[in-house]
Symmetry: C2
Subunit: 522 residues, 2 copies
C-alpha cells in the first residue's frame, strides 16, 4: 500500500508511480516503495490545510509550543530507528553526524520555535494608543515546504527549520519530503502525527507527500489555497517554482546554490598556513562537501605561502578518505560540473573523476585551480556549483585582480576572510570586505562558513540568486518566522474585538511589543 | 531644452519625444514640455545611483536626516508655487486638499523618515554576544520609485513616502515622476537638489525622469544595478513590472488597486443611517474617488434601513458637485469600467456617464447596485475597479449570502465594518470580520478607510493583488523602511571591523537593539 499523510491519516495515495531509495554506500535499492503523488493528493492536502489554517488562527501560542516540544521529544524517543534508516538512505555517518549533530540540531530548532510561539514577540505588535491603530503579523495560511537532499532531519520538509518556523507562526505545513530519504521522512512524520494528537492541534497541521511530478509542484506553489512556500534545493528547480509562485502572487522563499567564497590574505597564510589547510579540508569535505555553505571558491594572492597552502590542500584532499555522495544523480552531476569548470579554464590538481570500481556513489576529493585573470574573464561559467567534494582555488596576481574577481561574484549565502591576527593584513581588509559584504548574507572572519549556528542573529540567506529575497533568513529564530507573517492592521477596532496580542494588556509578561515607539515587555 | 535630473544636474535628456500636461478643469495643455526618456537616460541615472549608493553606505543616519529635514523645509518655503502648479496640473483644490492636507502630510513623512534615520532602530540590530554573531538590515542599493497619478506630493516618486523610506535606509532613489504632474515634480526635485547640497549628500542621491517607454520601465526594474523598486499605480502596469523584476530576482513592492469593501450591519443603519450616508459620500467622493483606499464596494443586508441608506446615498451623490478626474484617460477608463460593471449585472442608480458638454474631465457621481446573488455568481467581473467617483452597493438577501460574497473578494488594502454602538450587531460581527480579516491589510470599525494616518502601526498594504506581498507596508514609519533593507550578518567579525550599529556600545542612546533576546536602548 502506498500511503501519504493527508489530514492526519496515512491514506492511499492517488499516485502515478512508485520509487525506492538507493543506499549510497552500496548502490542497492532499499525495500520500501513510496508513491509519486498525482494532483489529486495535492488537492486533498490543500483542502485539509485550509481547514487546519482556520482552526490554527484561533489557537494560542502555548498549544503550538506544546506540539513542537512533543514533536522534538518524539524524535528523540525514536532516535535509534530514525538515525539507522537515515544512515541507510543517505550514507551519512550515524556518529557523529546524524546522531550527535543533526538530530540534536533538529530538536533544538523545534524547541526554539516552541519558545518563539509561546513568547509571541515574532508577531511584532505595534500599538499606537493615541490613534487606536494597532498592527501585528499573523499567519499567512498553508505553507508548502520542499526539503533538500542533504539534511534528512534539520532541513527535512516535515521536521526541519522551515516547518518549525511555519508552524510557530500558526501556518499548517504541507511537506514535500525529499525522495532520497523518504523512509526517514515517514518516521519523522509519524512523530509529528503523535505530537499533534498529544497537543490537540488539527490533524492536518502537518501533512506529507513523498514526491510529485514537477508540473504538480508548480501548480501546488501557485494554488490559491497556499499562503507561502519555502524551498531549499537546486537553483534550476527553485527558480522554476519561483516563476510559478511569483505569477500567482504567492510568496516563495528560496535557499539555492552558493559558492561561499573564502579569501586568505597573505598575513594569515604566513602566520598559520598549515592550520588553515586542515581547517579548509575539514570544512570543504564535511558531508562530502554537500552543505549549502560549503567553501567552493578559495581566493589567494600569488606568493610562496599561497603556493604552500595549495600544495598542502591538494595533499590533504588526496589523502583524506572519500565519503559517498547522496545519490547516483549527485555523482553524475559532480562529474558534469567538474568537466564544465575544466572546460571553462580550471585545472584539476587532484581528483576530478568518480572513484573507479566503487559500488558507492563516490567522487574523488577534488581540488581545481584557475587564475584570477581567467576567473574575471569567464566569471559566469566558473561560478557553476559542483555540489560535493570539490573546491576551486582562484590564484590572483594582486589585490586589484582579486577584488575585480570578487566584484564579479553572484549573490552568496556566505563569504569569509582570513587575515593576520597581528594586523599584517589590516590595510587589505577594508576594500575586500566591502566588496564581499554586498555579495553575501553572512560575512565571517577567520572562520569557515559550514557552521550555521542556531542563533537569533544568524542569517542563512543572502542576495539573489543564493535566495529569492535578501531580506529574509531560513535559519535564526524568531527572524525566520517573519517569512510566514502577513501584516494585519486594526484601525479604530473596538477593544474587545482585537486579537489578544493587540489589546492594551499583553497576553503574558514575556511578549515584547512596541507601544507608542518603545519596546516593552508585558 | 528638455532636461532631466541625473547625477545632481538638470541634464539634456536623450529623449524619444516630449509631452505636455493638460489642465483637468479646462482641458487646455499647459505650456511646459517634458521629455520621454530613452534607455540612455535610465542608464546614466543607474550608473550615478550605484556610485551614490556606495557613498551613502558610509554616511551616518544623522546626515541623511538633515537632508530629509532640509527637503521638507524647502518644500514648505516653495509651497505657494508648488501648490499653484499642482492645482493646474491635477485639478485638485488648492485648499484644503493640496495646501492644508497633502503638503503637510508630505513634509511630515519626510520628517518622520528623518527621525527614523537618526534613531536607526529600523536596522533591527540583533546581537548574540555569546556566539559573537550580529546582524542588521542595511541598504539594498538604488531604489526606483514609480509614483502614481493621484497624489502629486505625498506619493510622488521624488518627494513621497517611498522616497522618504528608501532614502532613510540609505538607498538612493531614481524617481519616475507621474507625467500628469510633471511640472510639480520638477519643482519638488529642485527642492531635493538644494537639500542634498545643504546636507552634503551625493548629488545622485535623488534623480528624476519624467517618463519613459513601458519597455524601458521593464528594463529599469530588472537591471542588475537596481536594489529594489516601489510602484504605486494601476494593476496592469504594476503586474507587468512585477513580472520583469521577479524574473531578475529584484524585490519590487507594489501598491495596486483595491475596492475597500465596507459592510453596514443593520443595527448601525438603524442607529445612524443618515449620518452614515454623509460619511460614505464624504469618503467616496473625496478627490473624486481617486484614492487607493476609496470605498468602492458597499455591502448591505436587505431591509427597510438598507433601502433608506441606498436612497439617501443616491440623493447625496446626485446633488453633490462633480469634481474633475485627473486626466482624459482617467475619464475614459471610468466610462469603460462602469459600462463593464453594468454589463456584468450592476444597475446604475445615478450617474454612470461623463458629464456632457463639460470641458473639464468630469464624470457624473455614480452609484451602482447589484444583488449579493449576482455578485457571488459573477465575482471577478464585478470586482473591476472604477477609479473615480463611482460606488457600488451589493445588496445581500441575508448574512449567509453576504459572507459568501465577501469570501469571493480578492485581496484589498482595507475593509471596514459599521455596527451598532449598542451591541445590536455583535452576533453578526465575528464571522464577517474573520472573512474580511483574511482579505485585507487594514480592518476598520465604524470608520471610512480614506484616512491613512501616518502612524507606526499603519498598514498600507494587503494581500495580493492589492500589493505584491502581504508582509510589507508602504505607509507607517519605520515599518515601511523594511522594504529596502537587506539582512547582513557578521559572524566572528573582529570588533573594530563591525559597523557601528553592531558594536557592543550603540552609536547613540536612542537606538533600539535586540541584545541576547532583550530589546534595549543605548
Amino acid at each position: 500500500m502506498e500511503l501519504v499523510l493527508i489530514d492526519g491519516a496515512w491514506q492511499a495515495s492517488a499516485h502515478s508511480s512508485t520509487f525506492r531509495v538507493q543506499n549510497p554506500r552500496t548502490g542497492e535499492f532499499l525495500e520500501a516503495e513510496f508513491p509519486v503523488s498525482t494532483w489529486a493528493d495535492c488537492d486533498r492536502a490543500l483542502d485539509a490545510a485550509v481547514a487546519a489554517a482556520a482552526v490554527l488562527r484561533g489557537v494560542d501560542g502555548e498549544r503550538i509550543a506544546l506540539f513542537l516540544e512533543a514533536f522534538a521529544a518524539g524524535i528523540e524517543a525514536d532516535a535509534d530507528a530514525i538515525v539507522a534508516l537515515a544512515h541507510l538512505e543517505t550514507g551519512l555517518p550515524e556518529k557523529p553526524r546524524l546522531r550527535d549533530v543533526e538530530l540534536p540540531r533538529t530538536t533544538t530548532q523545534l524547541r526554539q520555535a516552541a519558545a518563539a510561539a509561546r513568547e509571541g514577540s515574532w508577531m511584532q505588535a505595534v500599538i499606537d494608543t493615541k490613534l487606536n491603530i494597532r498592527s501585528c503579523f499573523a499567519p499567512m495560511g498553508p505553507v508548502v515546504v520542499f526539503g533538500p537532499n542533504n539534511f534528512p532531519f534539520a532541513f527535512n520538509g516535515v521536521s526541519g527549520g522551515d516547518l518549525a518556523a511555519a508552524i510557530a507562526t500558526g501556518c499548517p505545513v504541507i511537506a514535500k519530503a525529499h525522495p532520497l530519504h523518504a523512509g526517514t521522512s515517514r518516521l519523522l512524520a509519524q512523530c509529528a502525527v503523535s505530537a499533534l494528537a498529544e497537543a490537540g492541534l488539527p490533524a492536518a497541521t502537518v501533512q506529507m507527500l513523498y514526491n510529485m511530478a514537477p508540473a504538480d509542484g508548480l501548480r501546488l506553489v501557485s494554488d490559491a489555497r497556499v499562503g507561502a512556500t519555502a524551498f531549499t534545493g537546486s537553483r534550476a528547480a527553485g527558480l522554476a517554482l519561483k516563476e510559478a509562485a511569483d505569477k500567482a502572487g504567492k510568496p516563495i522563499y528560496l535557499e539555492l546554490s552558493s559558492l561561499n567564497p573564502i579569501v586568505y590574505l597573505p598575513g594569515a597564510l604566513k602566520e598559520r598556513g598549515t592550520e588553515l589547510v586542515t581547517e579548509t579540508a575539514d570544512s570543504g569535505l564535511a558531508a562530502s562537501g554537500q552543505f549549502c555553505t560549503s567553501p567552493n571558491l578559495l581566493f589567494l594572492l600569488e606568493g610562496v605561502e599561497s603556493e604552500a597552502f595549495v600544495q598542502g590542500l591538494v595533499a590533504e584532499y588526496a589523502k583524506r578518505p572519500v565519503a559517498p555522495l547522496l545519490s547516483a544523480s549527485g555523482l553524475h552531476h559532480m562529474g558534469r560540473s567538474v568537466e564544465s569548470l575544466v572546460a571553462a579554464g580550471a585545472t584539476s590538481l587532484t581528483g576530478g573523476e568518480p572513484v573507479q570500481g566503487s559500488v558507492a556513489f563516490c567522487f574523488q576529493n577534488t581540488v581545481l585551480r584557475v587564475s584570477g585573470r581567467e576567473f574575471c574573464a569567464g566569471s559566469a561559467e566558473l561560478q557553476r556549483e559542483a555540489f560535493g567534494n570539490a573546491t576551486m582555488i582562484v590564484m590572483c596576481r594582486d589585490v586589484a585582480e582579486m577584488n575585480e574577481a570578487l566584484s564579479g561574484l553572484e549573490g552568496n549565502l556566505t563569504a569569509a576572510i582570513y587575515s593576520s591576527k597581528a594586523g599584517a593584513d589590516d590595510a587589505l581588509y577594508g576594500a575586500t570586505a566591502e566588496i564581499l559584504r554586498q555579495r553575501c548574507g553572512r560575512l565571517l572572519n577567520d572562520k569557515m562558513p559550514t557552521g550555521v549556528a542556531l542563533s537569533p542573529a544568524m542569517n542563512h540567506g543572502g542576495p539573489y540568486p543564493s535566495t529569492g529575497h535578501a531580506g529574509f533568513t531560513a535559519v535564526g529564530i524568531p527572524r525566520s518566522l517573519q517569512r510566514f507573517g502577513a501584516l494585519q492592521c486594526y484601525d479604530g477596532v473596538r477593544p474587545e474585538r482585537l486579537p489578544k496580542v493587540l489589546q492594551d494588556v499583553a497576553p503574558h509578561e514575556r511578549m515584547w511589543r512596541q507601544i507608542d515607539g518603545a519596546w516593552v515587555r508585558g
